[in-house]
């Protein structure tokens, strides 16, 4: 199982968004596809998380937090370096940047898990980075 500690590398992998997922995302946002044929910018998140080699559920499980405890996204930095394609297969690598223990009035004791994901196109050029900070309640 993945060690949830700073410096751990995620398994990584590849990911192609596909028309069906793009259509569902556009519908959920109530919007249209970009006119230039690229995908909606939120797809960088979907591709990064989808290709990192571990699902959100598996990541939380590895961190010892059941889904029922309500882990959630606390912050995110999304860099969009190139237009991304709906059928393009991207390579994703990821690293755990930090796991920080915190205590707050709203959540009580919790950890903040920061992961950095890098998405590269088939030419090996960086297309996007995604750095989510996830709040993990500790009950």
């Amino acid at each position: 199982m993945l060690a949830i500690e700073a410096g751990s590398r995620l398994p990584g992998g590849t990911y192609a968004l596909g028309e069906d997922r793009h259509a569902k995302l556009l519908s959920a946002l109530g919007t249209e596809a970009p006119e230039d044929g690229s995908v909606h910018p939120l797809c960088a998140w979907v591709i990064a998380m989808g290709g990192c080699g571990i699902s959100i559920g598996e990541l939380f499980e590895a961190a010892g937090v059941p889904m029922e405890d309500g882990p959630m996204l606390g912050a995110c930095d999304l860099e969009l370096l190139k237009p991304m394609g709906v059928a393009t297969t991207y390579t994703v690598t990821g690293t755990i940047e930090a796991l920080v223990e915190k205590t707050g009035r709203k959540f009580g004791r919790f950890d903040v898990l920061i992961v950095r994901l890098e998405v590269s196109d088939p030419d090996g050029e960086l297309a996007a980075t995604c750095t989510p900070s996830m709040i993990l309640p500790r009950r």
Binding site: L25, A28, W45, M67, L73, C76, L78, L80
Partner: protein, 129 residues
């Protein structure tokens, strides 16, 4: 486009619970708080399904792409958005600068506001004009 220019608003009249089911599949996120009010209640988060955080960011991205090409967005998620909420994505240009390649980049503050209960998301973004 100059400092002080208001961005948006992009209004979502009622956040859809059905869309949360679709996005759970797209995001491969099985967290039950997005799928039922009962699960949200069990997690102490009220009695309506909780919208996925990335989707809340997506409303802001969608507002920004009406202005230019989004290059970067950095946001904090401050509150949950629930099924049925009316939310408004908006922002304001803080500065416009040309980069070394002659591209004009607008640096903006951005937010997503829930009708009647404050901001759910806030942060900064950079868009190429």
């Amino acid at each position: 486009m100059k400092a002080g220019t208001q961005l948006g608003p992009r209004v979502i009249a009622s956040v859809s619970g059905a869309a949360m089911h679709d996005m759970a599949a797209v995001l491969d996120d099985p967290n039950p708080i997005h799928l039922s009010g009962e699960a949200a209640a069990a997690a102490g988060l009220g009695d309506r399904p909780v919208n996925q955080g990335p989707v809340n960011i997506g409303y802001i991205l969608d507002m920004l792409r009406a202005v230019g090409v989004v290059r970067d967005i950095r946001v904090r998620l401050l509150a949950n958005v629930f099924a049925g909420d009316r939310v408004v994505a908006a922002g304001r240009v803080e500065s416009v600068q040309a980069d070394r390649d002659g591209r004009f980049l607008a640096h903006c503050v951005v937010w997503l506001e829930i009708d009647g209960s404050g901001r759910a998301v806030e942060g900064t973004a950079e868009i190429e004009l």
